[in-house]
């Protein structure tokens, strides 16, 4: 059985950064990833990554902006770490190859993004995530770290309350493989596939959240889901970086009038404005990019994706947009070092909740979070693995998982399909846990999710092969999404107030006396239980 000090699950920006840091801290490291690292969702992040690089900026200003966006739910330690470390990490990224756009002095140019008080987002055209991911993958190869790509993790291994490894199905080998580890880092990304439509890659199915949840780790603030305000969405979606608004693009209503002054609004407020304008026969809201100087060269990715997905030339016509589910703020309960309640298990990046993002993430923080905390969590896991020593992951979990896979692939079901259940879940989440929510809608969602879970439980996969059996993987992913949906609806129903991304039309006010707190969902006797935890000052 392959044995490593640190096993990173997830090959996106957070996972690669963590792996590089752990290796440099002297640990033996391997990465498991569902897809090749360059195919992960990190590549889709367009706008930029925040760092206080400008003369008019400081870590303090940055921290204040994060707290403002987080609307009372940010934990101070994570905010201060990000604000303090961001510049160093971004400069490192530049030094190792990210081709950031430059200002007149040849320094990294920063542009305005979202509700930041100064121009703070370092960027590489509107392909920042792609460039950062590719450069991290370059540095990952430089460290000669083994990469087990196209491995679908089926279980974490736990021994006496300590996480000692993982079991993964190799798509290519068709085998269940056991990986032993002194520390396991979950860097599995988000769960935006809960929603239909959504802006994220097909693999964002919350697998890491459910792996942790199954070991009894809490899931925090799941109800906080950021909707991106400028997304084309019809049969397909195409996200346009919000940086376009800072560069002069305008949101206009059906009559062509400017909808809102975007400057200073949080992403949640902007999404709510666009949502509201599109309601009650308000007609489509459009993003008019034509006022942006040198549009095609400054926003090549937006031009490309809108042309490909919508057939619209952004230099000629406005693009109909709507808020679309984009990025969860909630996730696996972890501290700033990535530690969870299970010894040896760490979480970082979009799958994790370390208190940074509160009730609303500051646009431009996803990639910064990935590299700043990726490094710290990689180092923490390496240190833990050294002190913990090698643990025996055993082989019994793989045998158990083998039986589970055999059961899933034990024959056909007629009529119902994985795709149908997933589609209905996504539409339900969008309608009842979308930009605006009500108690009645959430109660209805809980009932319907329960029914969808029953349908999922009755489904079976015909394909008995284990080699590139994407139906089998899809079945497990959908199971993860359904459990996560159930927990999300529970948290959203519990939080009887409006705050950040959680807008309750039946409780339109913020309620600091009762709800300046995190929701925490834990698995108890197989079902989710809601609890709360104080925000740490």
């Amino acid at each position: 059985m392959p044995q490593y000090d640190v096993l990173v699950i997830g090959g996106g920006a957070s996972g690669l950064r963590a792996a590089i840091a752990a290796k440099r801290a002297g640990a033996s490291v391997a990465v498991l990833s569902k897809v090749h690292p360059l195919r992960t969702n990190s590549a889709l992040s367009p706008g930029g990554l925040n760092a206080p690089l400008g003369n008019d900026d400081s870590a303090e200003k940055f921290a204040q902006d994060i707290r403002n966006a987080g609307d009372g739910l940010c934990d101070t330690e994570a905010v201060n770490i990000l604000a303090a470390d961001a510049a160093r990490e971004v400069v490192w990224l530049e030094r190792v190859g990210v081709p950031f756009n430059r200002n007149a002095e040849g320094r990294i140019d920063c542009r305005p993004l979202g509700s930041s008080s100064v121009s703070r987002a370092a960027y590489a055209d509107d392909r920042t995530g792609h460039m950062v991911l590719h450069v991290l993958h370059e540095q990952f190869q430089r460290e000669d770290i083994p990469c087990f790509a196209e491995r679908f993790v089926t279980s974490l291994i736990q021994d006496g309350g300590v996480c000692t490894g993982a079991v993964a199905l190799g798509h290519r080998s068709g085998q269940l493989e056991t990986f032993g580890a002194g520390a396991v880092i979950l860097a599995t990304g988000g769960a935006t596939q809960l929603y239909r439509p959504c802006t994220s890659a097909v693999g964002t199915t919350g697998d890491g959240l459910m792996l942790a949840h199954d070991l009894g780790v809490g899931l925090v603030d799941l109800e906080m889901v950021q909707f991106h305000p400028t997304v084309y969405s019809a049969a397909r979606t195409a996200l346009i970086s919000e940086a376009a608004l800072g560069a002069g693009a305008k949101l206009v209503n059906a009559a062509g009038d400017k909808l809102v002054n975007a400057g200073g609004l949080s992403r949640a407020q902007l999404a709510a404005e666009v949502h509201k304008a599109g309601q009650n026969g308000g007609g489509p809201v459009s993003l008019d990019l034509r006022p942006v100087d040198n549009l095609a060269s400054r926003f090549p990715a937006a031009a490309e994706v809108v042309r490909l997905m919508a057939g619209i030339d952004i230099t000629k016509d406005p693009v109909p947009v709507q808020p679309v589910a984009h990025r969860p703020m909630g996730g696996i309960e972890a501290n700033a070092a990535g530690e969870t309640s299970v010894a040896g298990l760490y979480a970082v990046g979009e799958c994790a909740h370390n208190g940074l993002n509160g009730a609303g993430r500051l646009p431009g923080n996803t990639l910064t979070e990935a590299v700043v905390f990726g490094r710290r969590v990689g180092e923490a896991a390496a240190a833990h693995a050294k002190s913990a020593g090698a643990a025996d992951a055993g082989g019994s979990q793989a045998a158990q998982d083998g039986e589970r896979l055999a059961e899933i692939t034990s024959g056909g079901t007629s009529g119902d399909t994985i795709g149908a259940v997933h589609r209905e879940l996504g539409e339900l989440m969008n309608a009842n846990l979308g930009v605006s929510r009500t108690d009645a809608g959430l109660a209805e969602a809980q009932d319907k999710i329960r029914a969808l879970r029953e349908r999922h439980a009755a489904l079976r996969v015909n394909n008995k092969s284990r080699i590139y059996n994407y139906a089998l993987a899809g079945y497990i992913e959908l199971g993860n999404l359904l459990k996560l949906a159930e927990a999300t609806a529970l948290a959203a129903r519990g939080r009887a107030e409006s705050r950040g991304a959680h807008l309750r039309s039946d409780h339109p006010e913020k309620d600091d006396s009762n709800w300046k707190a995190h929701t925490v969902v834990r698995s108890q006797d197989g079902s989710p239980k809601l609890d709360t935890r104080a925000v740490s000052a």
Binding site: P99, F100, R102, R107, I108, Q139, A201
Partner: protein, 318 residues
Amino acid sequence: MEVTYKVHRKDPENGGESSYSTYQVELPEDATVLDGLQKIRDEQDDTLAFRASCCQGSCGECAVRINYKAQFTCTTRIGDVTKKAPEILLDPVRNIPVIKDLVFDMDRFTWNKMAAMKPWMEPDDEFAPTENLVPESEMADVRKTMSCHACSLCDEGCAVLPVNFDFLGPAAMVKGYRFVMDPRETGAKMEARMKVVEQPQGLWDCVHCYEADGKCPRGLTPSSKIMEIRDVAFKEGIKHEKVGRHHASFINSVKQTGWLDERKLVMETEGMTNVTGLMKLLPTAVRALRRGKMPGRHEKRPGADQIKRILEKAEDSK
């Protein structure tokens, strides 16, 4: 509309022979080819293997051949295919070993070949407190090049790979170009980089057919980039020994006589002391001689001095 999909199948657990499966799928006209594949897997045949990730033309994961043209399933509309052909024919991209159905071996293909470029920077001042100062004008081309999806579509179009699988291919060379042209790699780093790019099966094995230039979904013109790297090599000094000898012999011959002495070129390229290499060429020389293709005496041509001056002027201007 009802659409016919004809999809390449290969089952590695069942003989591994290639065949096709045909499916009838009901889809809206503006659906993508990927939408149809997903529907087939969900409703008709869950054994069908194909890759996809971002579903918006950004990641490069879903490259296949659609009616003989390599492209992404997630950005190709079925209506655009069916207006030209009665069915949607899907094959794995060419030049790559196929594992299952439409899933091919990216490890042996693009990933390993790109890794052979040692595609990373090792800056001496990696942890400097501030960034490199670089003019935007020098960064823009590097950035555009780095928008490469690593999708393999340029390798799919390559004319060399079908006859020499070990050729690193255009995608790897684009990766090399990104470093060669990066203003942040200079001096000894640049020297080392050129050695890597000029490794055997690398820069000099491209036959400049320019096929790859038309294949990139982002318009990156890989073939032209290979030629640009060659220009850099000419300026910086060719690191590949044999190619260096070939180049020097070519130039000397033309300078001295106004035309190319092919016999000398062959011998000097191989190396005059390389007896094994020269012996290998002997049968070719004999055949050429028999067919009257071996030139006789190589004498200075009229106008040779003028040709020499032109060459020297060109050398000065580089």
